[in-house]
């Protein structure tokens, strides 16, 4: 996995001719690198400081630095304001790359901000499409507000037949398209930024871990992401299981040929609260204490198609060959409390596409679909099913 606070750089302003361009540098050592390139005294940019001067002979710039915990990303960070003439920002970035910085992934600043608790998931959702590379969470209307406005446009169009002109149809379809664009952008951004629930497949060598992993992965029809930076190595995949995006890791991929302390430690290091483990062992041996205590574990008695395999209570019999038990594994994987937002946004995108299709001949249907989109936008973690389940637990009549 990419390091949490390695030095990343990107242009924070749109890539177009403008008076001023801003290059943003975040991560450990940000101030030191700038001090070096601007020939400033060491420590000059420690904390919240402002410095004006030449930057490596490229441009006369203004540098603003922030201390850890105070910046947008929550890390040590420097913004470099240079002239907006084409190429200037690019040269500055080039120089910084030379000095060991790395080009930031789209949305990576935001992701760091999120990880460092500077912004909430809702803020991320509220970010506007103008928000590229950096900047503050958008001040403009949130998506659900824009959807509400679209809804009242459509309703007016439906109810006040006489007062509306033909051109209104065009207007509605344009509005729909604009919202689709925005939602799509947002989905992409959130996808890059979100922290997914993780499931680790663990167990002794030759337990069938890789086979199961490949089976799950191969079954996957919608491979949601191959976004660099989220896929760590060959043994980690993002799967879309029952509408949930989940990161699955085959712990053998961490190089542990045997289940020795080291492999376990590495896997454990990546484990966080709420992450879960599929523990596979055809022998159904006791699982290590540390794992049993710390995490939610699904015990799997693998290769159950073979002769003389064990059956043990509390262990799920699974065969990657016959497919037995695979559904239960998928259910376990998808039943996570942690839940990203991108799947919801993706669903919204799909619905909006449908609404656009319907808008020409059946505005009423389009309106219904838009209200579904609105419900998605307004209910980040809840849906009718959750409420249904919730209500089933009430003592009726109370």
């Amino acid at each position: 996995m990419e390091q949490q606070n390695d030095l990343i750089v990107a242009q924070a302003t749109p890539d177009a001719v403008s008076a001023i361009a801003v290059v943003r540098l975040s991560g450990k050592g940000a101030s030191a690198v700038v001090e070096l390139l601007m020939k400033l005294k060491s420590g000059r940019l420690k904390g919240k400081k402002r410095a004006v001067g030449d930057f490596a002979g490229i441009d006369h710039i203004v540098a603003i630095s922030w201390a850890v915990g105070k910046s947008y990303t929550g890390e040590e960070m420097v913004d470099l304001m240079c002239h907006g003439s084409p190429g200037t920002a690019g040269k500055i970035i080039g120089k910084l790359l030379e000095k060991g910085a790395r080009q930031a992934q789209p949305g990576e600043f935001t992701r760091r901000a999120w990880i460092n608790g500077r912004i909430t998931e809702m803020d991320v959702l509220a970010l506007s499409s103008q928000f590229s590379g950096g900047g503050r969470p958008g001040k403009d209307k949130d998506l659900s507000r824009e959807l509400q406005e679209l809804t009242s446009e459509i309703e007016g169009f439906i109810e006040f037949n006489e007062d509306h002109e033909i051109s209104e149809e065009q207007k509605i379809s344009d509005l729909l398209k604009r919202i689709l664009q925005r939602t799509n952008d947002l989905a992409e951004k959130v996808k890059r930024a979100e922290i997914l629930p993780k499931v680790f497949i663990m167990g002794p060598v030759n337990a069938g871990k890789s086979t199961l992993f490949n089976k799950l992965y191969g079954k996957e029809t919608v491979v949601v992401s191959s976004t660099p930076g989220t896929t760590r190595d060959g043994a980690t995949r993002i799967l879309n299981v029952y509408g949930r995006r989940v990161e699955i890791t085959d712990s053998a991929g961490y190089g542990g040929q045997r289940l020795d302390g080291k492999a376990l430690t590495i896997s454990e290091k990546s484990l966080g609260r709420g992450d879960r483990i599929v523990w596979m062992d055809p022998q159904c041996n006791d699982i290590p204490e540390r794992i049993k205590q710390g995490y939610e574990v699904l015990r799997v008695c693998s290769m159950c198609d073979k002769k003389n395999t064990m059956e043990k209570t509390g262990w799920l019999s699974v065969s990657s060959v016959t497919g037995q038990g695979l559904q239960q594994i998928e259910e376990f994987i998808s039943a996570t409390e942690k839940e990203g937002s991108s799947w919801r946004l993706e669903k919204m995108v799909e619905l909006l596409k449908k609404a656009i299709e319907a808008a020409d001949s059946d505005v009423a249907l389009a309106a219904e679909i838009v209200s579904e989109v609105l419900r998605e936008a307004e209910e980040p973690v809840k849906n009718a099913d959750a409420v249904e389940r919730a209500l089933e637990r009430f003592c009726v009549g109370k």
Partner: protein, 606 residues
């Protein structure tokens, strides 16, 4: 009078007529008391029945055994299906009506139903609030009954306004009901004042229609009622003209002279059927508002100007009208005006439309805070049926929001209330794709049977249609084209109901059958959406039983918005259902509350 009726209806407007007919259809001895027979079901405003959502409601009335649909069919001069390009769920059937013939047809239907009509103006109710015993007429007669339905429309202390002039009246040419209004106030019912306006009428021959856009009937063989034999004839034309910049300017310059804008009227008017003064004030940049020229009857000399509701002084109305293209020589036959009247405050009546304070007084129509003939007729039908059921000692039943616009309207009026005259909109329903005009009878049948309003003949006819419907659904499911069932083909958005229907083989196809087939296809097309609406609805219905009393401080409920937390801390509702009526509490907040309660009950268990 010695005779004691089972149901007595006060007021022969659109609401009162349906109420009386419904009560009679349940077998009650029913009397309708109204000042003048010749004005029964008079269309006080525009000469038309139906429209978006309203037309669907008329078809529900037909499914509920009401009279409005048949009368509208029999007296229609022109038919148009509004919103034809906006999807079948929001098609709005609307007819131009012959106003005089409409009254005749309504009276005929009342007679056929066995309703006794008494001419007279009710001065006051007799007996304590809890149990009204009789009504006292202005001429001194007293009529006793077991249950009562009040349907006094725009007449309760009605005041008419035009320019600087104000005079009492229930509508043009009718006296207002002053003493009955006093009686209602004396009885301490909570009331409010609403207002509504109407347009000037012009003489047909004074208009140059040759330069106007013509509107003729859509030829769809449409009928509101399954009992009507043939489709609407295209006997009359309508025309459309548009306001010119001059029209708007005239109104803007004279706003202070309008009764509406000079501060004379205190009642609240309808936002959605706005006066022309309102349109000009709220959309100052707009011009070219369409004005429809509609005949008041077959070959009538008088034409109604739909869209030009105003209470300007007469001389300004003259100028406004003459500013319209084709109207330079127009002669106004009746000037527009505004009526201000008393109606009941939300909360005074329950879901059976009975005043809560009483055991036997039901209210319907305009005095519930509604606006429009169709809304009046539908609430009238329901109130009349409830009054009859009460007189017969039968259990009450109320319509479900999910299955009918009647259900939506009754629930809205009782639970949400009105700050302005309530007009029905398709968007008031959470199941719009399910509440279509084509399937109205199917949706309301179960409720109609429970309510007891359908004659055996109507039930038998419905069952015949239902068998056809089922047969068609079966065919749609069984017929395969290239291995795919027609049912699955129906679901594709680009397939129209006609195309899908054409794929199955049905021997004869009468107009009725074509319509039933259409319904079958549309039911399939939208079934997913309808099911989801039902599911959301059933979840919501169960909110009622979830108590919120255990939540002491809503600030601790992280699953809801801060806005909702504040509102809930202040209002402290007892149940989720009550929480729902608080405006700051959104659907997502309700779900959040439900989740919160669940989490707590789980943690307590363990």
């Amino acid at each position: 009078m010695k005779q004691k009726y089972q149901v007595l209806v006060i007021g022969g407007g659109h609401a009162g007529v349906e109420a009386a007919a419904a009560a009679a259809s349940l077998g009650c001895t029913t009397v309708l008391v109204t000042p003048s027979t010749e004005k029964i079901s008079l269309m006080s405003c525009n000469p038309a029945i139906g429209g978006i959502a309203k037309g669907t409601l008329v078809r529900e009335i037909d499914g509920l055994g009401g009279v409005t649909a048949e009368s509208a069919d029999a007296t229609a001069l022109q038919f148009r299906m509004l919103n034809m390009k906006k999807g079948p769920a929001v098609w709005g059937p609307r007819v131009q009506s012959d106003v005089d013939m409409y009254t005749v047809k309504q009276i005929q239907q009342l007679r056929a139903a066995g309703v006794h009509i008494v001419e007279g103006l009710v001065r006051r109710l007799v007996g304590p609030n809890k149990r009204i015993k009789a009504v006292l007429l202005e001429d001194g007669r007293e009529i006793k009954a077991q249950t009562f339905v009040l349907a006094a429309g725009t007449f309760l202390d009605g005041m008419l306004h035009r320019g600087q002039v104000t005079w009492p009246g229930g509508r043009r040419g009718d006296t207002s009901s002053v003493s009955l209004e006093r009686d209602i106030r004396k009885r301490m019912f909570h009331v409010k004042r609403f207002k509504t306006g109407t347009s000037p009428r012009v003489l047909r021959n004074s208009i140059d229609t040759s330069i106007l856009e013509e509107q003729i009937s859509h030829d769809l063989q449409f009928r509101f009622s399954w009992a009507s034999k043939q489709g609407v004839a295209n006997t009359e034309k309508c025309w459309v003209t548009r306001t010119t910049g001059e029209t708007e300017k005239l109104v803007k310059d004279s706003l202070t002279k309008s009764a509406l804008y000079s501060g004379r009227i205190h009642g609240r008017g309808p936002r959605y059927c706005p006066s022309f003064e309102d349109k000009v004030t709220k959309f100052p940049e707009r011009t070219g508002h369409p004005i429809h020229l509609e005949p008041m009857g077959k070959s009538s000399r008088i034409m109604y100007l739909n869209g030009l509701s105003t209470s300007m002084p007469e001389e300004i109305q003259e100028k406004i009208v003459r500013s319209l293209p084709g109207f330079s020589n127009a002669v106004i036959a009746a000037y527009g005006y505004t009526v201000e009247y008393t109606c009941f405050e939300t909360g005074e009546f329950d879901h059976t439309l009975k005043l809560r304070e009483t055991e036997n007084l039901y209210v319907c129509g305009q005095i519930l805070g509604t606006s429009g003939y169709e809304e009046a007729a539908a609430t009238g039908l329901f109130a009349g049926a409830c009054a009859a059921r009460s007189a017969l000692g039968l259990e009450q039943t109320i319509p479900d929001r999910l299955n009918s616009y009647l259900g939506v309207m009754v629930d809205d009026l009782v639970s949400i209330g009105t700050e302005e005259p309530y007009r029905l909109f398709s968007s008031r329903s959470e199941n719009r794709l399910g509440l279509r005009q084509d399937n109205a009878d199917r949706r309301v049948f179960e409720f109609a049977e429970k309510l007891g309003v359908l004659s055996e003949k109507k039930i038998a006819e419905y069952q015949k249609r239902d068998r056809k419907y089922r047969h068609m659904r079966k065919k749609l499911m069984e017929t395969r084209i290239h291995g795919k069932t027609v049912e699955s083909i129906c679901r594709r958005p680009e397939i129209t109901p006609e195309e899908a229907g054409g794929l199955i083989d049905l021997q004869t196809q009468s107009i009725d059958e074509r319509e039933i087939l259409r319904t079958a296809v549309l039911d399939i097309k939208y079934s997913g959406y309808v099911k989801r609406a039902e599911k959301r609805h059933s979840v919501r219905k169960r909110y009622g039983s979830a108590s919120l009393e255990s939540i002491k401080d809503y600030n601790l409920v992280e699953t809801i918005t801060i806005e909702a937390r504040e509102a809930l801390n202040e209002r402290r509702p007892a149940t989720l259902l009550e929480a729902e009526s608080i405006p700051a509490v959104r659907q997502a907040d309700l779900d959040g509350l439900a989740l919160y309660l669940m989490k707590r009950s789980v943690s307590r268990e363990t």
